[in-house]
Symmetry: C2
Subunit: 553 residues, 2 copies
Amino acid sequence: MALKARVLYDFNSENPGEISIAENELVTLFNEEELEGWLEGENSRGEAGLFPASYVEIIKDHITSNTNNNGISSPKTKAVTPNHTSYTSPESQKGLGAGSGGSGGGSFHTSQGSDDDWDDDWDDGSPAVDAPQGLGTSPPLYPVTTSLPGRRESSQQQQAKSSATVGRNLNRFSTFVKSGGEAFLLGEASAFVKDGDRICVVMGMHGPEWQEDPYPFTCTIDDPTKQTKFKGMKSYMSYGLTPTHTNVQVNRRYKHFDWLYARLVERFPVISVPHLPEKQATGRFEEDFISKRRKGLIWWMNHMISHPVLARCDVFQHFLTCGADEKAWKLGKRKAERDELVGPNFFLTISTPTVPLDLQEVESKIEGFKTFTKRMDENIVVVNATISEFARKQMAGFKKEYQKVGQSFMLLGQAFELDQQAYSEGLNRAIAYTGEAYEVVGEYFAEQPRHDLAPISDLLDLYRGHLANFPDIIHVQKGALTKVRDCPKQEGELHDRCNIISCATLAEIQHFHRTRVRDFRSQMQHHLRQQIGFFQKITAKLEDALQRYDDDQ
Amino acid sequence: MALKARVLYDFNSENPGEISIAENELVTLFNEEELEGWLEGENSRGEAGLFPASYVEIIKDHITSNTNNNGISSPKTKAVTPNHTSYTSPESQKGLGAGSGGSGGGSFHTSQGSDDDWDDDWDDGSPAVDAPQGLGTSPPLYPVTTSLPGRRESSQQQQAKSSATVGRNLNRFSTFVKSGGEAFLLGEASAFVKDGDRICVVMGMHGPEWQEDPYPFTCTIDDPTKQTKFKGMKSYMSYGLTPTHTNVQVNRRYKHFDWLYARLVERFPVISVPHLPEKQATGRFEEDFISKRRKGLIWWMNHMISHPVLARCDVFQHFLTCGADEKAWKLGKRKAERDELVGPNFFLTISTPTVPLDLQEVESKIEGFKTFTKRMDENIVVVNATISEFARKQMAGFKKEYQKVGQSFMLLGQAFELDQQAYSEGLNRAIAYTGEAYEVVGEYFAEQPRHDLAPISDLLDLYRGHLANFPDIIHVQKGALTKVRDCPKQEGELHDRCNIISCATLAEIQHFHRTRVRDFRSQMQHHLRQQIGFFQKITAKLEDALQRYDDDQ
């Protein structure tokens, strides 16, 4: 049977290869897999081509029609496809769980696939296909129907809008239900919480914050090595991770990261789990894919271990510390997949400060944060586009200009060499050297972006992932607030539970800000140090050239 | 009567506003004045537009038809026009003088104009019209009919060829006759030479050279001041010159320079008199015309005083030292204009080393130099085009890129400012400062070319003037050599006189090389020092920005 999707928002094709689709239209999909956020299919007028995956809702046979599950596809949602039986994205999981009743409990781990599927090579097979294509090809991530005037804005702003991720959740089904937030608020969550599972929100100088990890650690990620199995028939890349608290290296494949990510997302509804690098566009600096993914994983790991809740949680620790013992691995894996403290039950694990928050103040803080994320998201899209363009210019235009100047100096030296006067030779050599120096400076310009612009770009990508997470997180908190206002009766308990959700949300926001300030400070410093070193290198080269004019006089 | 010109070489229009003209075609001129080397007129097909002045020969009523004076127009030749009665270019002078008999003596100063014309404002009136337009609009200076394959070469090489000045003399009437070289060689020169007029060629390490000036001096040129006369009705710019050997400032107008130039050119047939800046293309760095002309005059003066013969000659000394005494000035002026030691008689003033040169060797040296000048001329055209383009890129593209990066960092800072956390403020300020720093760096890039590329461009312009002089100089020497071979009879005297011409030519070539090595060494050093300073300035700015991230933590 042909796969169908219902169109959620109008989309007008703007480039060759794209097709226009209209709200409520039914389109036929050629393939359920997104490529860079696009789907391929045929519209009702028989035109075939690409359209943004987030503009349509795939019609699945096994979803009953009474779920008003419209528009849950997010940039990182992968649908369950016949080819990929073992993989179910964390977000569609959540959607399914909540949609089929939302009653909480142990119903969130029904389709993880068996352990036999574990070694399928669905992610390591063709990295080139996964390689991101750069900014130019990103589909719009939220509908632009309400912002037609924006089309007349500057192209930078336009790009900022059309690629912004924050706005995309405005019209979609409330994640309040999906996340289990509603169930928790209504008292439907119930599970046994061990002391070890308890997550403390404490009152810090700047409001609620996650209690700090008393045993902080770091974790290195080695260059991946190529591994084979089935007598060399299949190969995959393996990353050596060495956390400092055990100092024992474990080997993980990308799909293990992916599995972990899925667990974390279902486990922590109001925590922004950093996105894995795969889907992030970092392909603009011509590094090879493996190296890029490793850098992305290092960023990811860095964010994982600096998060007080994520760093300590069982499934992450299992991932970091379980060695080559296959049995122990599967045991931990099964345990994680059957974890009861997911969805609504997550909130049961949270301890709040004794004094409850003022909900009015919470609401204002959340509103402020919403504005903040929207602006940050828009602006980092501009920054990313600008530095990508700057990198491109340096690698092409700047390099070319300096090399052309170098070549023209060399030409001058060559003309001068036709003069056989002895007193001319020193100058001729010096000019030739100057020409070479300028060629080298051109190379410096071409090499530099990967050292000082690419890392900023990687950082911005990671933060775009966080910014894409927050609308859901904010929705959970807002849903709770709304519910409390709507049901004044059960005030006490509702208030307490709303307070828990609010504390967790504000703690997460606080964590985001702290991490952001830390990351951007250190990355800007890194960038400036690199730039300073770069200009010093040029200066040294030119000083070297200048020297030649004295030496040979 | 409509002014006509005969076309000397085919020219195919390549740009709007130009018209194609064919060899031997008669064209009608709208105006006899060149603009940047172009003339405006109508061809025989009735098309009106521009064509290169050097491709046509203006048909003058007062030139008798028996002069085979085809193609003497050089880049700096101005024709005698009704509007400009007082101005006759030195080169057309030479042509006229030689063409009307070439008998030497006092016949070279017939059309200098009376002293009454002296104060006409023909050169200071509208500097904007004289302002050069940059390389792009230069007409080809020698015919490209023989180099059609060159059209398939790279555009840089093409530009080098089509703008090269050295080749232009190949087909024109021998300057051997015009210069008086022939008359001298045939023993037709005669004049009384005082000891003070004697010019010595000595044998140096690298061959014949001009005896060094025992009393070297320098001369400063102050910023020009605006003067008025006729009760303010007319105004002109006056340059204050202070030569070090008198240390008395004299005031000269541009037309005084021009008058001096004309005297020097007729006085010294085998000396490369530096071209005055007016016609030289230095208009690419957006400085104002006055400042550019002053810089050009400084270069010119520098070349004048470093030339042992030019620096010491009477007319230049008169120019440099005669004060405000109108009478003394006119006396010296008349004396210079009636100087007998011009043209063929110039050679009478030359003392040679005792051992005569080997003419075979001279010929080979001259051939080598000819090759050298041709290559140097072609290559500096490329250098000039490249650095002009580089300057343009820095002033536009580079600046824009750095400023865009700066603006995007500022955007990032602005987004972050929406977060009211106290610990974010320092970072926000630092990022805003970094953004400003990048904007400043952009300004640095825009300002830099005038400091390190413009001077090179000025130098190249001056040398293109010299290179344009040498074909004539070489022609004189070659004419003498040919004559000696043709007439074996009068061997002794002919040989002596050919030796004199050869010594002077080689001394001039030697001087050219020495000056070239000195000038290019010092200019390349200046350029590199400027560039180093520039990159250090950027580094300092970025270090300043980096500092902000520590200060505010």
